[in-house]
Symmetry: C2
DNA sequence: TCCCAAACTTGCGTGCCACGCAATTTTTTG
DNA sequence: CAAAAAATTGCGTGGCACGCAAGTTTGGGA
């Protein structure tokens, strides 16, 4: 066998990755078509030509499979961040690295927006969605730590976590409204984060009239 | 019947609240004692003296019941924030309101720290934990919006979301380390957020040596 | 080239869980 | 106090996660 040039992947691992990705895609596609609880694990498995038991070797729930795309979308963030020029301000690097991930495919498909909104209503699914973001967050935190020289891991985690917050808020805003673009919103939010949200902080004119109680209802993510 | 002075709660609602709280407490207590998957829904229900079916009228999973304490702990945040003096800078108000919630019971009990760490390893439970924080986040966002006069809801959501990020990061740091206190950490993180994390942003000396790959493993929250 | 060990898949069985439904009990209200 | 509204409960159903023990595929050394 010739010495691996690019494929450190042992062909066995390629099949695993393929299977995983196929399952995730099938899960997402079927769920967007039929709605989450009209899709059984067996459906997803069959779609890919694999047993239901095997599905559970890859994912421990269908929700997890559906949300795997979130992780995929962030796959290149680590490399993107480390590839930024060394002298660049940290926030700028992070911003560009994040935006790059969401530019890769252009604006996400508007056709699915209604289904996505519907999907995010599912409580179990939101949990997995947030889990997926948490996974991304961890990698981002370590990458940031590496970039700044490993000092103060706590702050790195805070930065990663709040960046993911911005991503989620922008995403929710995107599929909640009609016509607003994702990228500009995301960029604006990241800029605000970097500056401590002066736009809000500036206006201190409080109008504390206690109507519209909002009793801890269901969040939209 | 005397005219309700304080109890707008119709006695029926009091029982509901009590039942809910009792179930949540029982769920948390049993889970900390035995570990999540040595606790069946029926155990929790029996503990409170109620049927298993009734448990599912209140919570749609045991994980949700366990994480209800998160919501409870933030219950007073809305009032705390609205009660801050009107002229106070927004970030200061938010900081004090948040810290107040966690001062209410002093530093959380160190005895359970190992169990908690173990608990947070459970993936399903993390999902619900994050869901709970998302619920809190929504209320916080609307409260902030009310405080600043309702302008720019998007930014309010961003602020709420990143504040919750700080809470989570501080919490994870608390139960991950031995001896570090929650409140000082939390205060520091909120201050950093308010200033755009200058401590990190300042040091731009990148040392991009790509070792320790960290392949998207399980996050710690 | 062949073969074995490690890794992956699969079927089966088990225990648990969420939830719809309808009957029963409890609380509210007129 | 009686009828209406709401909560609890038992039962049944469909589904899911996972342990286990085959069977099947893959990788690397002899």
């Amino acid at each position: 066998m010739p010495p691996d040039e690019l494929p450190t992947l042992t062909l066995r691992e390629r099949k695993k990755r393929e299977a995983r990705r196929a399952l995730a895609q099938a899960a997402l596609r079927l769920t967007l078509e039929r709605g989450l609880d009209n899709v059984r694990v067996e459906d997803i498995a069959t779609e890919v030509g694999v047993s239901a038991r095997t599905f559970n070797n890859y994912f421990s729930s269908k929700e997890q499979a559906v949300c795997a795309v979130v992780v995929d979308r962030h796959e290149g963030m680590r490399e993107a961040l480390l590839a930024r020029p060394a002298g660049e301000p940290l926030w700028e690097s992070v911003k560009q690295a994040v935006l790059e991930q969401y530019s890769r495919e252009g604006e996400p498909d508007r056709a699915y927006v209604a289904r996505i909104r519907e999907l995010m209503g599912q409580l179990m699914l939101r949990g997995e969605f947030l889990n997926a973001h948490a996974a991304v967050e961890r990698v981002l935190a370590e990458t940031i730590a590496k970039r700044v020289g490993g000092v103060d891991h706590l702050l790195c985690r805070l930065m990663a976590s709040s960046v993911e917050s911005a991503v989620r808020v922008a995403f929710v805003n995107w599929f909640t409204t009609e016509g607003e673009l994702l990228l500009p919103t995301l960029e604006r939010l990241l800029d605000e984060l970097a500056a401590g949200m002066p736009t809000l902080t500036g206006g201190t004119e409080g109008t504390p009239d206690p109507n519209t109680t909002t009793p801890l209802g269901e969040p939209l993510c």
